[in-house]
Amino acid sequence: MTATGVRIAERFSAFSFVDRITELETGTRAKGRFTVPEAVAEFPTCLAAEAVGQLAAWVAMAQLDFRLRPVAGIAREAKFLGAVKPGQTLDLEIELEACDDDAVAYGGCAWVDGAKVVELSQCVGPMLPLAEFDDPDAVRAQLGVLRATGAPIGRFRGVDRPEAVVIERTRGARLRADLCWPESAVFFGDHFPRRPVLPGTLLLDSQMRLALELAAEATPHRPLQPARVTDVKIRSFITPGQVVALEVAMLGSANGTVTASLGARVGGKPAATARIEMAAGHAP
């Protein structure tokens, strides 16, 4: 795309959530940090999950000598345990289960002030050639920065959330909506410079908001929060400007937990699937 030269300024800033890697055991585990800039209006907890995934991606890329990188993939379980506010620092930790030319498997957590806010389990990222997405030399050099001085804090300036256009709604039961992340969205310049694709965590954030909206219609007197998302699977890339058809369907309620299925389609084909459990009690 012709805008690549312009967008390169966004690399390692517009959608990068590791400021510093404080410990790294090649191919095994790592710890890192990310400080949410004071200036952003909000920091969705999905982006804390993104930060954990990005730390795992750094370890995997280093392990594979920057030939390959994980893109999108699978999360068996993501627990949302607390909120993250602007100005707070995320402490990140990941452990690799496996890492080879096909995939990286990992789990990890993010903490704020010693309290766990996100926990990811049994995640799998399929490996693709790094050069398709970014300049391997630039990525290698950035790892050096993250391991040494760390990247400057405050690079992230927030993400604009597109308005969902509701197509069909059965109150408290089912909702279909169209959503489109415009080509001008700055995060595409960082995710990724050579091949922009929608981050799965932003898709999930939008789906989770719609699910909460639907749950609020079903249980108006009991405010719910996302507690757990399971079986997240990103099936295809979503490119800038594509219209994504989101579908949320309530599946049932048991022991104070409301479950819904989350779907996303592009051009009629499945792009992502997941399930969400919502419960009262905490406020991510």
Binding site: G73, A103, V124, K233
Partner: protein, 142 residues
């Protein structure tokens, strides 16, 4: 190396767990998971599902299943160029596939067959056999 044949009893011993894992990974009802169903044609599996499946099987059965293991085992001692040429499975390769994937109904083997189409042959029984082989390997190494 000729491997000992896998018995029906061995397959059925792991099948209930494999079927449940398949249903979970594909997000479908377990009733749809038949032993001889084509994962791609009948259960709409995609490449990401195979990756998911392999990791789930490894965790559930506590075995290692290298990615690409099915094709690699089917190829056996054949050189890659003997097994496939320009992305198409050779006649010799097809014969090996028919022998190795003997649980797959014969009519599903096309000739010519692109190497990229091999996963279309895989069934739940194929993955039961993968698990049994991995268990044998783990047992042999113990």
């Amino acid at each position: 190396m000729q491997q000992m044949e896998i018995t029906k009893e061995e397959i059925m011993a792991v099948y209930p767990t494999v079927a449940q894992i398949l249903a979970d990974a594909l997000g479908c009802d377990i009733e749809r998971v038949k032993l001889d169903a084509s994962l791609i044609e009948d259960l709409d599996a995609e490449s990401i599902d195979f990756l998911d499946l392999v990791f789930r099987l490894e965790r559930a059965f506590k075995v290692k299943i290298p990615r690409g293991k099915i094709v690699e085992d089917a190829r056996g001692d054949l050189a890659e160029s003997e097994f496939e040429q320009k992305g198409v499975v050779t006649e010799v390769g097809l014969k090996r596939l028919r022998e190795f994937l003997n649980e797959v109904p014969a009519e599903r083997f096309r000739s010519p067959m692109k190497a990229a189409e091999i996963p279309r042959l895989f069934t739940p029984e194929t993955f039961c056999k993968v698990v049994v082989r991995a268990q044998r390997t783990a047992g042999a190494g113990a």
